[in-house]
């Protein structure tokens, strides 16, 4: 028993500090990816509703690609592909600089585009659930397009899209485990190293399970708060 306590202690003897750093990487990566994913996803959804066929086509191609590719492959493409591509390009132009694509940034980008392509579908279905009359009502009271979107459509959109988006958030939280292959020390990489070095696989992978579960529970607490907030605005409307 004491052995396990030492293994799970903070400091040079135990692995808890390493795993906590892993958890920090996981959470910060997911939090940094979320705004990118939401923003791109929102605009892709707008693009899909566009009357301009080329924009619509581009948006559809985007979601087809990034929903179709495995997340791991997207990550490899961003992390290794961009670096090799940029270096080849520079070499072609006669420069020999070493370009380093940061693994955190490429993780953010790769998970962000994947998140956005799924999120766009969630936004799309939310958009379709809002009756046309809501837009017309906005214009009728003299709001221009941006104001209508911000004041009338967006609050309803958030409420309608929230269940789908919270699903995607939890998936994102777990997908961050993929970044260990590009050299980021997230929860899974740190617990994996600890498990293999100490030969205490159950202990450390069990701990990883608990951390992911805890993150999911904390997430659902915040999602609930957001839901309450959107409902409140629904009542006063």
């Amino acid at each position: 028993m004491e052995k396990y306590l030492i293994l799970l202690s903070w400091g040079s003897q135990g692995w808890l500090d390493d795993i906590a750093r892993g958890a920090f990487i996981t959470v910060s990566l997911a939090l940094c990816t979320l705004p990118i994913g939401l923003l791109i996803g929102f605009f892709i959804a707008l693009g899909k509703q566009s009357n301009e066929p080329t924009i619509k086509l581009a948006a559809n191609i985007y979601t087809t690609i990034f929903r179709g590719l495995p997340e791991l492959l997207t990550l490899f493409l961003v992390y290794f592909g961009i670096q090799i591509g940029v270096q080849k390009l520079l070499a072609l132009l006669g420069f020999s600089a070493q370009i380093e694509i940061n693994s955190f940034v490429s993780g953010m980008l790769a998970l962000g585009v994947v998140f956005s392509s799924y999120a766009s579908e969630v936004f799309l279905s939310a958009f379709r659930a809002i009756p046309k009359g809501q837009y017309e009502g906005g214009y009728a009271v003299g709001l221009h397009t941006g104001q209508t979107m911000r004041l009338i459509i967006l609050p309803q959109l958030i409420r309608l899209a929230l269940p789908g988006l919270s699903n995607l958030w939890l998936i994102l939280l777990k997908d961050t485990a993929l970044v260990s292959v590009v050299g980021l020390s997230d929860i899974l990489r740190q617990t994996g190293v600890a498990a293999r070095v100490t030969k205490e696989a159950f202990l450390f992978f069990g701990l990883a399970c608990l951390i992911y579960l805890a993150l999911a529970i904390i997430s659902s607490f915040f999602i609930e708060r957001i839901e309450l907030w959107t409902k409140k605005s629904g009542v006063t409307r």
Binding site: L7, D18, I84, Q87, E100, V181, G183
Partner: protein, 260 residues
């Protein structure tokens, strides 16, 4: 300058005593390793790297008068990371194989240990021959030379691939596989743990098949970096000759890890 460096290199290879101090200024190298493969390279609880590969790396860098930085990278992405320029060389017990030679260049081996088979203590398997293991399940780490070897030579057995050594070790401890195959070092390390001692024993070592197991573990660099390969080869020979290699090897192993 280039020519004189090459001359110096070949001279160093022959004489072994000459250094590169008169050649280029301090060479900077980034070395990639896995960090989860004890006793060769693994991270410790306080985040430091240790193991045979790490000590060898430091000895080689000292020999080459190079300033080295060791970075860790998950095994699955280690060759792509080398190719993408995240580091300049992989010193992570990587076996030299023809398949890998298509993607990277290797130095000469810096060690070569034989593969072995471990079985549960109460196992009825008589020996390590493919006949004795016919119809039995063998756990092996996937994407390794051991997996390729098992597939080729133990075709009558049920070969099960595992993502890492840790997982097949769990499965043999739980009795879900009849035998496991890996490098003798790795299995010895496993047997030394409380779980390993309780469950298993080493059945025997296998004569390596040069075609599959290759020449041993080498240092991988990007294709075409002959200069670096030459420097590393010279450094390996130098530490072999001056006793530094044996000093490190003795710290970790009770047999000749360099092999014949």
């Amino acid at each position: 300058m280039k020519l004189s460096l090459k001359l110096a290199l070949s001279a160093a290879t022959v004489a072994l005593t000459m250094g590169f101090s008169h050649a280029e200024d301090m060479m900077k190298l980034k070395i990639g390793t896995e960090g989860a493969y004890p006793p060769f390279n693994n991270l410790t609880a306080d985040g430091k790297l240790e193991g045979f590969d790490i000590d060898i790396t430091n000895a080689l860098c000292a020999e080459m008068k190079a300033e080295c930085e060791i970075v860790t990278q998950d095994w699955d992405g280690i060759i792509p990371a080398l190719q993408a320029g995240k580091f300049d060389a992989i010193i992570a017990s990587m076996s030299i194989t023809d398949e890998r030679k298509e993607k990277v260049d290797f130095t000469k081996k810096y060690y070569n240990t034989p593969p072995a088979i471990a079985v549960p203590k109460d196992s009825t398997i008589a020996d390590i021959s493919p006949e004795a293991l016919k119809g039995k399940s063998i756990g092996v780490q996937a994407s390794t030379i051991h997996f390729n070897f098992a597939e080729a030579k133990y075709g009558e057995s049920d070969i099960k691939g595992f993502p890492s050594a840790q997982e097949y070790q769990l499965d043999i401890a739980n009795g879900r596989v009849d035998a496991v195959m890996d490098d003798v070092m790795v299995l010895k390390g496993f047997i030394a743990t409380p779980e390993g001692t309780a469950c298993c024993k080493i059945l025997g070592t296998i004569e390596p098949d040069a075609k599959i197991h290759g020449e041993g573990a080498g240092i991988a660099v990007r294709k075409g970096e002959t200069d670096l390969v030459n420097k590393l080869n010279a450094a390996i020979e130098a530490i072999r000759a001056n006793g530094k290699y044996d000093e490190i090897a003795k710290k970790y192993f009770d047999f000749d890890v360099y092999g014949s």
